[in-house]
């Protein structure tokens, strides 16, 4: 048998792949996004996170949900969670400055809920918590750990990115607002005293969200093994809304 005859099936296969790729390419460059049925979301939500997400074969592309975060729990996210907390050097001023500037970039003012810096398809709170429940680190990108008890309607407070593929984008409206800046470090009562919290603890009950191992490097604590933060770091009363009236409790 000649080598040419031997490779015939291979050529056919290559031609088929090239053809499908071409069709896929043309479909992809078409003006409008093909309409695909939702279907898969509910089933995916039931399956346990196990394997790394598989690429979708071209032949199945029209049948699966290709929207953002559609396969949020199909990969092995556990591998991406930050490791054990260990003592480290305090962050440098440069790291802290960078972290604060980064923080300020996705919130309206210090204390505002962060806006969502990526597009989402709201499926359920579980889809947000898949990454933000315990926090994730993927290369340079960090999904911060949720700082408050889990609620069910994430986009109630966190502004999502625009469906820009559909509605496009617009110039930001000119604004003359002056907003509360991010605090940088709390004051100390005396040399060597633990710094006070420069911000309220309301909705930031879990300090690890920013100061734990999945937080921005410039904000991480040097002593992550200590878990009772308010033992040493006191909260600021004026911004904690502590007055003569007892606070209403959350749904109790």
């Amino acid at each position: 048998m000649s080598p040419l005859a031997d490779s015939k099936p291979l050529h056919v296969a290559l031609a088929a792949i090239a053809g499908i790729a071409l069709i896929g390419y043309l479909a992809g460059t078409g003006g409008s996004v093909p309409v695909v049925s939702h279907g898969g979301g509910a089933d995916l939500a039931k399956s346990a996170p196990s394997a790394v997400p598989q690429a979708v074969p071209y032949t199945q592309m029209t049948n699966v949900d290709m929207s953002r975060n559609a396969n949020w729990n199909s990969g092995d996210l556990a591998a991406l969670r930050p490791g054990a907390d260990t003592r480290k050097e305090p962050a440098s001023q440069a790291e802290t400055d960078a972290a604060l500037a980064d923080r300020a970039s996705n919130r309206a003012f210090a204390g505002a809920p962060p806006t969502i810096p990526h597009s989402i398809d709201q499926v359920s709170a579980a889809s947000c918590l898949a990454c933000h429940g315990e926090g994730l680190i993927v290369g340079e990108r960090r999904a911060s750990r949720i700082s408050h008890p889990a609620y069910h309607n994430c986009t109630q407070c966190h502004v999502a990115a625009a469906p820009s593929a559909v509605v496009g984008t617009r110039e930001a409206p000119p604004s003359i607002a002056v907003t509360k800046p991010e605090p940088s470090g709390g004051p100390r009562a005396n040399l060597g005293a633990p710094p006070q919290m420069p911000h309220p603890a309301w909705m930031r009950q879990d300090c690890r969200s920013c100061h734990g191992p999945a937080g921005r490097p410039g904000l991480q604590t040097s002593h992550p093994e200590r878990l009772n933060c308010q033992q040493c770091h006191t909260a600021a009363a004026n911004s904690e809304q502590r007055t003569s009236m007892p606070p209403a409790t959350l749904g109790q």
Partner: protein
């Protein structure tokens, strides 16, 4: 500068200033070394929707710099929504109106306040009977009250109506038709106690997110709550619902009748409750066609006969909801051990049979006895922060007077005249024009019978929100003898056609009071100055009234100025002079006067100072033996409402039949005035989105919110998109018999309509969907139906294609 660059720069600037300021503070020798954010915090209700969350406003250097959810507030318990967290930024759009502007040769040119007030006074003085005020459910209570008194008392003119007519008028007629008095019996506490939540044509996950979370967050504490979404399209509320019952627009009436039919057939209605607390009522006429708020009584046996045809199978035919699901609903209501709360908002109110469907849903709750216990309540929600407080309670509607009074009743007019110290006979007994009639007459040439010559618009944007804009707003252009005055904070679709623009102070730039959906009256103080020459709306009205007084008008029967303001020593203060406006608390004086009106219908309010101390109080608020003031959570229920006769259990003490009973109404299902046909094959529904509040005049100026939802769109079902060859982002045209607009298509978007239906939000001032909507309205409440009309879709161009 590109958007991204702008954001980046501003973020960097923000970060830089953060560091400088904090460094400066750190360097500042503070012996105590106490953490302090340098801001002064005070409470205010949120500026946006009718939920009535309280926020803490952080002020520094004369600017609102931060917002926090008020932890002590019972409504929101420290949480807010995306709009609430950014409410402070709504003050700081760069294009705030800062000086009065007069249209000269087609251009708006700055004029002085004195010139502006003289023009307004001239218009009123020369045409006192064809002058109208178009106000708002965003008016503070004192703002609405002073306008009410100026018009009905000062001018004997009833042409005053609020935009709330477009928003909750059908809820009002539903409550009055059923209980004889307006506003919900229950309150938000029901959301903490209900086992079942039914949303009737309502999407609280986006429109009242804080209230919706109050329910769904109970699930994370292990509680079981069944949520039933009865809707015409899938929304974010549907995502949390156990049952989604999709119905044909308008057929909610058939669903309610179907539930009542089964409750009676199976004998599972609450016989004791019905016997003790309910009468039955219908409209006059063979076909129940003579529609009125009063109707005529009918017997239980007659009521049963009317319901005869609403078998589950027949209801399925009309509504598309399966007979099994109708049975499921009836079974739920038949269970006395379940606590059931119904919520509704625009879906039931913006309805050509709005009064009827409101009465029917109250009827379902009454017939089944799901009423008057915590968690058992039919509750309508409002879209505006003071739709209840100002529009409904102050009664700034064309037929109403403060405190639940109406102009048609002589004793009500006389009581008002007595409080205002006016001679009897001053107030006209004839209702003024409701919103649709007012704008129709304004846009009709005088020679053709358009007998409204000047409208003063305050705190609202009718150029974007009126239905059928070509007919009810755009016709104004070019009518020489029609004059439009607009008090607002930003340029809007309305100010475009304004002849005179008055720059207003907003929210915490002035003192204010709101009343939310659960009868809660709230108060706040001015915290920052308004920009430029922007001034309080109350002051604007007061100053115009003073000009009229100097010309011999606006006098009480002793010849005194109708709006005299006094200091604590009882001396008159020239509050009409802006320099002296804040010498005293004008809001407090107007409120204390208004309070005198509130006892007739048992909507008693506490003194102003009680509201200063609280995060709002729910009326009726009564003074206790120890001098404290107690609010009422559950109206008409003996265990909580002090006005209920001891031993009565439940008593409807404003019953229209005078026997302490509520009215259970029968209304037949009726077709809407316009349905899809061959020429216009689709149902068009309009509404709101989470990020934007109403016409977006405030939220579109908040960078975070505009970035999140920069443009309007039309939600299209994949099946329709396929048959029309439309893809995501393609530009399509919507045509109706009124008008046409072009906007991007969104398939499988935020909401998902079924085949044959499309949805468009109304927030985008560039894409006015109300050019297309229908101006047909409920014959009783006069509220138009923005939720259904016939439309067609046309493909215009591919996404990204050049125009």
């Amino acid at each position: 500068m590109r958007r991204r660059d702008f954001l980046k720069t501003s973020a960097m600037a923000m970060a830089a200033s953060a560091l400088t300021i904090d460094r400066a503070q750190a360097a500042d020798p503070q012996p105590a070394g106490l953490a302090d954010d340098g801001l002064t915090w005070d409470k205010a209700p949120c500026r946006f929707c009718g939920t009535g969350c309280h926020v803490k406003v952080g002020v520094k250097d004369g600017k609102v710099q931060a917002i926090a959810g008020a932890v002590e507030a019972e409504v929101n318990k420290g949480l807010l929504c995306v709009k609430g967290y950014h409410v402070g930024l709504a003050l700081y759009g760069a294009d705030r109106l800062t000086t009065p502007l007069l249209k000269k040769d087609g251009k708006h040119v700055p004029i002085s306040w004195d010139e502006a007030l003289t023009i307004v006074a001239d218009k009123i003085q020369t045409q006192p009977k064809t002058f109208a005020i178009y106000g708002s459910g965003q008016w503070t209570i004192p703002e609405g009250y002073i306008c009410q008194k100026l018009m009905k008392g000062g001018l004997s003119n009833n042409h005053i109506d609020p935009n709330a007519r477009l928003c909750m008028a059908s809820a009002v007629t539903g409550f009055i038709g059923t209980y004889g008095v307006d506003e919900p019996a229950g309150c938000y506490d029901d959301l903490d106690a209900c086992d079942v939540l039914i949303t009737w044509g309502n999407n609280p996950a986006e429109m009242h997110p804080v209230l919706f979370s109050r329910v769904i967050d109970r699930r994370s504490r292990g509680e079981k709550i069944t949520i039933i979404d009865i809707g015409t399209r899938r929304t974010r509320t549907t995502e949390h619902a156990d049952h989604y019952l999709e119905f044909e627009p308008q057929s909610d009436m058939a669903i309610a009748n179907g539930i009542c039919h089964l409750l009676i057939k199976s004998g599972s209605y609450d016989k004791a409750f019905v016997e003790k607390h309910c009468n039955f009522r219908r409209n006059e006429g063979e076909q129940h066609e003579k529609k009125s708020l009063k109707g005529i009584p009918c017997t239980f046996a007659e009521y049963e006969t009317y319901l005869e045809e609403y078998t589950p199978e027949r209801v399925e035919e009309i509504s598309g909801v399966s007979a099994d699901n109708i049975r499921m609903l009836a079974k739920l209501f038949a269970d006395p051990n379940k606590r059931i709360t119904s919520l509704w908002c625009m879906g039931m109110n913006q309805h050509t049979r709005g009064t009827a469907i409101n009465c029917l849903v109250h009827g379902v709750h009454l017939l089944s006895g799901h009423f008057g216990k915590p968690g058992d309540a039919p509750t309508s929600l409002t879209g505006q922060p003071s739709a209840c407080g100002t529009a409904r309670e102050v009664g700034t509607l064309a037929h109403a007077l403060p405190g639940g009074r109406i102009v048609a009743k002589e004793p009500h007019r006389q009581q008002s005249e007595d409080i205002w110290n006016l001679p009897h006979g001053t107030i006209s007994p004839k209702p003024g024009y409701h919103t649709i009639a007012m704008w129709d007459h304004f846009c009709t040439p005088t020679a053709e019978g358009g007998d409204i010559s000047t409208i003063w618009v305050q705190v609202t944007n009718p150029g974007q929100t009126l239905p059928n804009l070509p007919k009810l707003f755009e016709r104004k252009e070019g009518l020489e003898d029609k004059f439009l005055i607009v008090s607002d904070v930003y340029p809007t679709a309305t100010t475009k056609l304004a002849d005179l623009i008055l720059p207003s102070a907003m929210w915490v730039e002035k003192n204010g009071m709101f009343g939310n959906s659960e009868r809660r009256t709230q108060q706040w103080f001015k915290m920052v100055d308004p920009p430029g020459q922007a001034r309080d709306d109350v002051w604007q009205v007061l100053a115009v009234a003073r000009k009229l007084y100097q010309r011999g008008l606006m006098k009480d029967k002793d010849g005194k100025f109708l709006f005299e303001i006094h200091n604590e020593q009882g001396q008159e203060v020239p509050a009409w002079d802006w320099d002296h406006y804040y010498d005293v608390n004008v809001d407090k004086q107007l409120f204390e006067e208004y309070r005198l009106f509130t006892t007739l219908k048992h909507k008693n309010l506490a003194p102003y100072d009680e509201y200063v101390k609280s995060h709002g109080l729910r009326w009726p608020v009564l003074e206790q033996a120890d001098g404290t003031w107690r609010e009422t959570r559950f109206r008409f229920s003996e265990f909580d409402d002090p006005f209920v006769t001891k031993g009565a259990g439940i008593e409807f003490y404003h019953s229209t039949t005078g026997d302490g009973k509520a009215q259970v109404w029968f209304h037949p299902y009726e077709d809407p005035p316009e349905k899809p046909d061959a020429a216009y094959p689709l149902w068009l529904c309009t509404g709101r989105v989470l990020e934007h509040w109403h016409t977006g005049s405030m939220t579109m100026r908040v960078p975070q919110l505009r970035r999140a939802m920069p443009s309007s769109y039309v939600e299209v079902n994949p099946q329709d998109a396929k048959s029309l060859g439309i893809g995501n982002g393609d530009i399509v045209a919507i045509d109706t018999r009124r008008g046409s607009i072009e906007l991007p298509a969104w398939i499988k978007g935020r909401g998902a309509p079924p085949p044959g239906r499309i949805f468009v939000p109304f927030f985008d001032e560039r894409l006015l969907i109300n050019k297309c909507t229908l101006d047909a309205y409920c014959p009783i409440s006069k509220q138009p139906d923005y939720k259904k009309c016939a439309a067609k879709l046309r493909f215009v161009r591919r996404a990204g294609a050049r125009t």
